[in-house]
């Protein structure tokens, strides 16, 4: 995700993004609604109603339909992300490895559950029902661009405290090129 001011979506950027999405007929246009939303969601971390309207207009459909998709598919957010974004894997390897304790601890210590942002806007948490694909290091989280594995609630708290205290962009153990991490 680009480091935009949280809470804002630059609609000119959205217009520029959708202008690259071309189609030959109305069927193809409909097939591209999800794609357009994914691009926007990847770029800004969420999709606002105004952005959804731009997508609807570009692809010849209604904002209702577009918003209906935004609220159905788990990957989309309709509210801004906090300064840090963490995926908590709750796939079966991570469950067997103790991810429930992580989820419970986040609720207790930070007051956040799936999809929530801390009151100070520092952290957004998303609990992933699937598998992040690094099961041999379960339980695992992906905080911004870095993975952290074999976690206990204490270790996760340390990781979070370090990230929140550090300036953004530092503290990356294993960085991934954003191009790869965010191809949609």
């Amino acid at each position: 995700m680009d480091q935009h001011a949280p809470g804002q979506i630059d609609l000119d950027v959205v217009r520029e993004m959708v202008s690259h999405i071309t189609y030959s007929d109305h069927q193809e246009a409909q097939e591209l609604i999800l794609h357009a939303l994914q691009e926007i969601n990847e770029h800004f971390g969420w999709v606002s109603l105004e952005a959804a309207e731009i997508v609807a207009e570009h692809l010849g459909t209604t904002a209702n339909r577009v918003y209906g998709l935004l609220t159905f598919y788990a990957d989309f957010r309709t509210e801004p992300r906090g300064r840090h974004f963490m995926l908590v894997c709750h796939g079966m390897a991570c469950y067997v490895g103790g991810s429930t304790a992580l989820v419970d601890d986040l609720a207790e210590r930070y007051g956040v559950g799936d999809g929530d942002t801390t009151a100070d806007g520092a952290l957004t948490v998303q609990v992933v029902d699937g598998c992040l694909g690094v099961c041999d290091r379960a339980p695992i989280v992906k905080l911004d661009d870095a993975y952290h594995g074999q976690l206990t609630p204490e270790k996760l708290n340390d990781v979070l405290q370090r990230a929140i205290a550090a300036r953004q962009g530092e503290e990356r153990v294993h960085g991934i090129d954003p191009h790869i991490a965010h191809v949609s």
């Binding site: 598919y73 079966m92 390897a93 207790e108 598998c131 690094v134 661009d145 960085g175 991934i176 191009h179």
Partner: protein, 585 residues
């Protein structure tokens, strides 16, 4: 920030190599065969030179452990030396990641395990020989055994995974040098659609997406369907919480999947093929997208492919993180840009699928088998595995085992062999309690049931299921009630809410389980579980609801003591606040 060699736009990608030697479009069979010869020769030259060849296994699992940094360190260290530093994909053995393979002049390629970026100078200078894990080849070298001698590889029969950890998944030339698109060529020029479908039918390959329906029968219905246009859809959604095989296929050998889809299109006479990939798998998508672009550039997709007179169009679509979109009809709705909610059947998709047209939908792994079936014949494939479950199966494991990873085994191998040998048995300090089969759609097996062969039918009498081949091993610390609650809560969350039994039944089951977990469940709750489950199973509209209670029932029947020990005669009276629902779902 690290730059990764996988993006098509990255200057370090094999795209850079093809920039030297741009992909040229082939317009005839002969032109494509010339490309095949060149690719084979470059592949031979790569390994036959007098410089070091360093390959780093890069996939979504090893990236999380720093494989990109290792790759970059190798490049820095060897800059200007004339040596080749290249990426390949993972080879399934997750516990040795990040790994680096080095071929020194005159020596076979040797894989070194668990390499950190700081290790690279010592590794390349030959000072880390104790990390040598195996030789990629048949003979040991300098005391290092062949990779295939390791129990993890020894029991495997790698057809789909043959190129994993060997070729650069971003390079269509390397794929072609290793056989990609030769079956497609056969289907374009030598076989009729009917003959191709007959080979798939003769192979008796059954669908790998869970249900095990014979692909040949589906293809034949698709081929005979009259309405136009027709479509082929590859189901690469893989939203189950217990499996990671299809995304690894994309990350390791994307051309194999694409070739399978293109063959299906030609065989059944479909105008367009689709691949629908889970949106959570960016690397799988990036590599597959690159594969499609390269295949287009080579002229393998488009009008009048290689002068054969056949047109094949292709589109890649990505999902949005809803498990239900793996269900066939929901997936098609998702492609059409609406909410992915299943519909009643009939009509089946092959009669009325995408855009209400005949659609042949298969799982990724099913389609990835097709190139080899066409190349070697259906009879060859039918000779692998067992009579009713032919071929190989990709299986993944999760849980505390020693050597975790993705493997490809022949159908019919015993579960015990896979667990004890391939996956190395339980990790130190963990005691085996059971193995969950069939993802969130079946029940567990206990230690004494592990001699059951791995195939589509043998686990069913025990309440298990092959499903998509994702197994979860759990140890004594996992409580059956808790595990049942986890899987039931998954189904509750992922229910699309279209029909009442699933939408209201699953939350009811979770509530009962919470009651039991919190020491407020009574004897009456067990028959209540059975009755509620029966309603959900019998009355739900789609496969999600119809099997949603299966893990719970399986765990209840296998570990009744875990449930019974928590039951009380009369629930204690608690202040209201303490009986309110828990967080964590």
């Amino acid at each position: 920030m690290a730059s990764i060699p996988t993006s098509p736009t990255s200057p370090e990608s094999p795209g850079a190599r093809s920039a030297r030697q741009p992909l040229r479009k082939a317009t005839s069979r002969a032109e494509f065969e010339a490309i095949q010869r060149e690719a084979t020769e470059s592949w031979r030259n790569l390994w036959g030179g007098d410089r070091m060849v360093v390959s780093v296994g890069i996939d979504s699992s090893s990236i999380a452990k720093g494989a990109v940094e290792v790759y970059n360190a190798c490049r820095r260290e060897l800059a200007g030396s004339g040596s080749t530093v290249r990426q390949t994909s993972g080879n399934g053995a997750m516990w040795i990641e990040p790994w680096v393979e080095i071929q020194r002049p005159g020596q076979p390629p040797i894989v070194y395990a668990n390499i950190e970026p700081d290790d690279v100078p010592d590794l390349l200078a030959g000072r880390l020989e104790d990390r040598a894990f195996g030789v990629r080849g048949d003979e040991p070298f300098n005391g290092v055994p062949p990779l295939d001698a390791h129990p993890f590889f020894k029991h495997q029969r790698r057809i789909l995974l043959r190129n994993h950890g060997v070729i650069d998944p971003d390079s269509i030339e390397e794929a072609i040098a290793n056989g990609a698109y030769s079956a497609y060529l056969k289907v374009l020029f030598d076989l009729s659609g009917e003959e191709t479908v007959a080979e798939v039918a003769a192979s008796n390959v059954r669908g790998r997406g869970g249900a095990g329906f014979p692909a040949g029968i589906k293809w034949e219905s698709g081929r005979k369907a009259k309405a136009r246009p027709k479509f082929v859809v590859c189901n690469s959604h893989e939203g189950e919480p217990n499996v990671y095989k299809d995304r690894r296929l994309h990350e390791g050998d994307p051309h194999r999947i694409l070739e399978g889809i293109l063959i299906a299109c030609v065989a059944v006479g479909a105008e367009r093929g689709y691949n629908y990939v889970g949106g959570e798998y960016p690397l799988a998508i990036a590599r597959f997208r690159k594969a499609v672009q390269d295949a287009e550039r080579l002229g393998l997709i488009g009008k009048n492919v290689l002068g054969s007179g056949k047109d094949v169009a292709f589109r890649l679509r990505t999902g949005g993180g809803a498990y239900i979109c793996g269900e066939g009809s929901a997936l098609m709705y998702s492609i059409m840009g609406v909410r992915g909610q299943p519909r009643t059947k009939p009509p089946r998709s092959v009669e009325e699928g995408l855009w209400k047209r005949p659609t042949v939908a298969n799982n990724t792994e099913t389609l990835a088998n097709v190139p080899d079936i066409v190349s070697n014949g259906g009879a060859w494939y039918a000779g692998i595995g067992t009579e009713k479950s032919t071929g190989t199966k990709l299986v993944t494991v999760m849980g505390p085992v020693k050597t975790m990873g993705l493997v490809e085994v022949e159908m019919g191998i015993s579960l015990r062999t896979i667990i004890d040998e391939v996956w190395g048995g339980m990790a130190d300090g963990y005691t085996f309690k059971g193995i969950q089969t069939g993802g969130v759609s079946a029940g567990p097996l206990k230690a004494e049931q592990l001699d059951v062969p791995l195939d589509f039918d043998s686990m069913t009498p025990f309440g298990g299921m092959l499903g998509s081949g994702g197994f979860v091993i759990f140890d004594e610390s996992v409580d059956a009630v808790d595990f049942a609650r986890y899987m039931t809560a998954f189904n509750r969350y992922e229910s699309c809410s279209k029909c009442v039994p699933c939408r209201l039944g699953n939350p009811a089951l979770v509530e009962i389980l919470d009651r039991i977990r919190l020491g407020r469940g009574t004897r009456a709750d067990l028959p209540l579980i059975e009755r509620t489950s029966k309603h959900i199973i019998e009355l739900s509209l789609c496969g999600l609801g119809q099997v949603a209670p299966a893990p719970l029932l399986g765990l209840l029947h296998t570990y009744p003591e875990d449930f019974e020990s928590k039951l009380v005669d009369a629930p204690p009276v608690l202040p209201l606040r303490e009986v309110l629902p828990l967080a964590g779902d």
